[in-house]
Symmetry: C2
Subunit: 357 residues, 2 copies
């Protein structure tokens, strides 16, 4: 049995300690500089304050000041940082890595170059590692529908590990797979990561329906806004296909765990849906942020990044002006206070459907 480091003591990173511990591994749970309170409570009570669950006995919590010691001799490093933290991870954790030591990341997001090219985060991390390690650290990512609190409760969860270095995936799966944590291995890490990132953008769109329902005074008899939510969910799937193709991959994961599966679980609740509800009720982004102080809003990051890249990509002829109508709408809702007039006439065009009038 091995020692595994989890860097970042948020809910998702910390939840992965459960299958690792159940497989007999020792886990070093290392907080970032933002996680000191969490680590303090884990050390004092053995209960993770955000998961509200007792950590397995083989989990040892570390402050970020103990990073070097905690990474010594580990056989796997899991990155549990959120998307703004990937540069910190590469620069701070990177110097402690060694060739062939695999990194498995839960972080979801995309970054855009000045030219509007979108990049998956494992590639961003790889490029920022110390020069001596570049190309020698296998970086893998986790996609698929997994609410951290359910994993920590040992509920059935089905996920996908992907990497450009597919030869490490079997070993990573063996570390984590249990009777309740089901792991598939994906060859196409780009398709996997695009789905993982974009689902947060589009879940915000689905969440708007809940806010519009509240604004309309709540359910009218048996009538909610499920038809609207479902239409937005469907358009989201269509645009995920477009986005995976834009990044040069094949869209088959959209129809499966990484795409519609992950988006389905994301719209069951949580921060992204709460923000969507607030915006749907008519709040501006600034006003909604004030209701959600202290929360990481990854949906805002990804809509801003991917939606913000579209004009440059259109200029370059890589995207047609009529593509991604829902993403463009969400960008306008966030940044231009656009009213909730959905661009229906632009939806569903790419699947060979036609709309009159």
């Amino acid at each position: 049995m091995a020692t595994v480091a989890i860097v970042g003591a948020g809910v998702m990173g910390s939840a992965l300690s459960f299958p690792l511990a159940d497989n007999g591994h020792t886990v070093h749970l290392i907080g970032t500089h933002l996680d000191d309170d969490i680590i303090r409570q884990c050390q004092a009570t053995r209960v993770h304050p955000r998961l509200q669950r007792q950590l397995p006995a083989s989990v040892k919590p570390f402050f970020v000041t103990g990073l070097g010691q905690a990474l010594d001799g580990v056989e796997l490093v899991i990155s549990g940082v959120s998307s703004p933290g990937v540069h910190w991870f590469a620069r701070t954790v990177g110097p402690h890595l060694r060739p062939a030591l695999p990194v498995l990341a839960v972080t979801k997001g995309l970054e855009a170059t000045a030219e509007g090219d979108l990049r998956i985060l494992p590639d961003v991390v790889a490029d920022e590692l110390p020069a001596s390690l570049r190309g020698q650290v296998p970086i893998a990512a986790i996609g698929g529908p997994c609410i951290a609190g359910e994993l920590a409760a040992r509920r059935h969860s089905a996920v996908v590990f992907g990497s450009r270095r597919t030869e490490v995936l079997g070993r990573l799966a063996a570390f984590l797979q249990t009777s309740y944590y089901h792991v598939w291995q994906a060859k196409d890490v780009v398709g996997l990561e695009v789905c993982a990132a974009m689902k947060n953008a589009y879940a915000l769109g689905v969440g708007l329906a809940a806010g519009l329902l509240e604004r309309a005074g709540g359910p009218d008899g048996n009538a909610f806004m499920h038809n609207l939510a479902a239409a937005l969910f469907a358009q989201a799937a269509v645009e995920m296909v477009q986005m995976v193709r834009l990044l040069g991959s094949s869209p088959e994961y959209v129809t499966g765990l990484p795409g519609v599966g992950d988006m389905f679980v994301t719209v069951q609740g949580g921060r992204t849906m709460r923000l969507g509800r607030l915006l749907g009720r008519g709040l501006t982004l600034d006003a909604a942020r004030r209701e959600m102080v202290g929360e990481t809003l990854e949906s805002v990051e990804i809509i801003t990044t991917a939606g913000g890249a579209l004009p440059r990509l259109i200029e370059r002829g890589l995207v047609r002006p009529e593509d991604f109508p829902l993403l463009r709408f969400l960008y306008r809702v966030l940044h231009e206070g656009s009213p909730m007039a959905f661009p229906w006439e632009q939806f569903f065009a790419i699947v060979g459907l036609r709309r009159d009038g």
Copy 2:
């Protein structure tokens, strides 16, 4: 403005009277022999008892005994019968049709031949029309996510009309499209109908997660069974792709309104989810049926039909024994009292994912 007949006064057929009336059409809402109580109440109170909503002024309710009179001079016939009613529709309404009078059907389902070949319902109806009309009545179908009660409340609803006779679709859309009922036109009626039918089968699967959650004593802290539900939703999408291909069509509608969109709205509630919950709690199909007396269980019909056809299709080499693991599991749950041991190792195989151990 025209007169349109809706045959079948269930919730979905009746709800279509709202956009029709809003477009200025006169609507003859004709109950089947099963709808006498509904028609009686509509005539007496103008309120549809199952939609619990007042009918528009231009809707005239008719008993089935007035069928011939009610169909006289109409320019469109909408079939609102449920799947077991399609033969009744063809035999009873068929003789009142005339060449070029289009039929638009809301009925979802598939039928199987003795050889296991699955057929879409518009083709079943077409074959049973009177010989003098065969091939001369354009039959179209509606797919996509649309809860009837929300349509009747004039909530945004986005749907797809499809037909082998694509030249009639523009005219059908013009009858029904409003500012809240958004209609797309699909060339591929087979893909559309396979999605519409199979979503009821797979929604039952997603519903099992709710029953398993109850059996486990309800939420454990913040942990529901959303990860499980999402995994089943994702596998459902994968199998919809398989099923559309099996019937010879292209699977692109799965990623859109007819597939994941319709399945998303179906799992928000209703009969299919209720049955799934009961089965997930451990009830047999017979026991669950006793809790749902009088309800049409289209999910049972489609799982029985499509799941029951698989052995013959496997014998004939048209389906591999490992295909459709979730559909086969659902068939065993219904008809063999199979325990809730999900065949995880068989899931997600067709999308190029690999699973060890």
